[in-house]
Amino acid sequence: MNLYKNILIFLGLIGNFFYSVMDSLGYKLFFFFSCIKSCVTPKFYPQLLLNQIFKIGFNSLPVVGLTALFTGMVLALQSYTGFSRFSAESAIPNVVVLSITRELSPVLAGLMVAGRSGAAIAAEIGTMKVTEQIDALKTLSTNPYNYLIAPRLIASVLSLPFLVFMGDIIGVFGGYSICVHVLNFNPNVYLVNTFNFLQFMDVFSGLVKASVFGLIISFMGCYHGFHASGGAQGVGLATTYSVVSSSILILFFNYLITSIFFSL
């Protein structure tokens, strides 16, 4: 009889666990669709959108550019080490441009922007939440979704592809400068090798990833900010959660999108 009771309690615990997981997942999904809806229904705030594009896109340029530059440089050196062992140095430009455009530029830019702008979004909205500024917005007939979330969401979805494209160019330039100035490659041959094998899809898949990552970053920032509670500590937690969860989601979706493009 006692065993039977214990099994029931155990099953109850499992049930409760799944219930709470589904409940929170369902709520996140609901929140996500409310956010998307706010991007396409009035009222629109073009001025705020421009501000956010400036903050997320333009101000992240130095960080993303530096990351791409050093990654391109390191990539050239490392692949030289490997390829020179079986005299395949001519493949280096190709390896550099493919790794940068398809993989490294989007992922690294995504992670950098998650740490930079995602954290800022969570902290800003979280502070507004715990200091009742979001409540104050509502009393001024302003929908906080349209006013706070939509500009950030749209701005990051637009900005990330731009950042990644710049990262592509800078990363390829990093590889080029190492190969030409340190490893004594012929500059013209390097460039020809770079562009000869590059296909539209390589760059395009990277930009698609970038948009998805932008959506992840701003959504996670907004979600955790909007649900912050309990003063400064709560805002700190929201920031941490937003960066951690968007980083993990970026890596997960990176694999997912790569495998989708792979099977095309």
Partner: protein, 238 residues
Amino acid sequence: MKPVVKISNLKKKFRNKEILNDVNLMIYESQSLAIIGESGSGKSVLTKCISGLLDFDFGNIRYKDIYSLKNSNEKVKNQHISKFGILFQNAALFDSMNIYQNITFGNKKANILKILDAVGLNKDCLDTYPANISAGMQKRVGLARAIVTDPEILILDEPTTGLDPIMSIQINKLLKKLVAKQKLTTITITHDMSSVYEYADKVAFICDGNINWYGDIQDLKKTTNIKLKNFINGKIED
């Protein structure tokens, strides 16, 4: 007098902590209601439920027999919220905007000079930011922002807390004027009994999640309710 908002059997829980259980209250047109009660008794939570900023668990809030908040859709709720002007307990000014933008919030028709004058602010402060002004000034800016939209119902969450005695008297006078002249319906949360006597018509005393006492301001001093008496006179129950 016609009731504007009717609150019936309102319950509100946070997780397992019951804050409000069975609150019944009427807010009448152009009447000034003071809500008093201990710290943590749920005064702010009650006004947030009334204005639609917080969802409640049970009971109902009706607006003039036109609609009720229970089971209402998002649109009705938003309409309801925008009927209120609220001075929040911590002012809740937008810290990314300067004082001018805080008060007008894109509303070009606002007569900013008149409003500034009404709340006793100088126009020199218009381009400073909320972080750079004192708490008392923040309260006044919050009040200006609450009245600039000509709300139907004004909610003031501790308007005089943190102000010096002179400023408190000024704010009380101003509120009295607003209530008398514009026939504004106001709900004031306060610990400051002098502001209650200054301009409140009705008083609601909230205790243990209920409206423990409700009545005219004249009857407040004659009350035999021990808890209320102790609260007003600042005594501690032995």
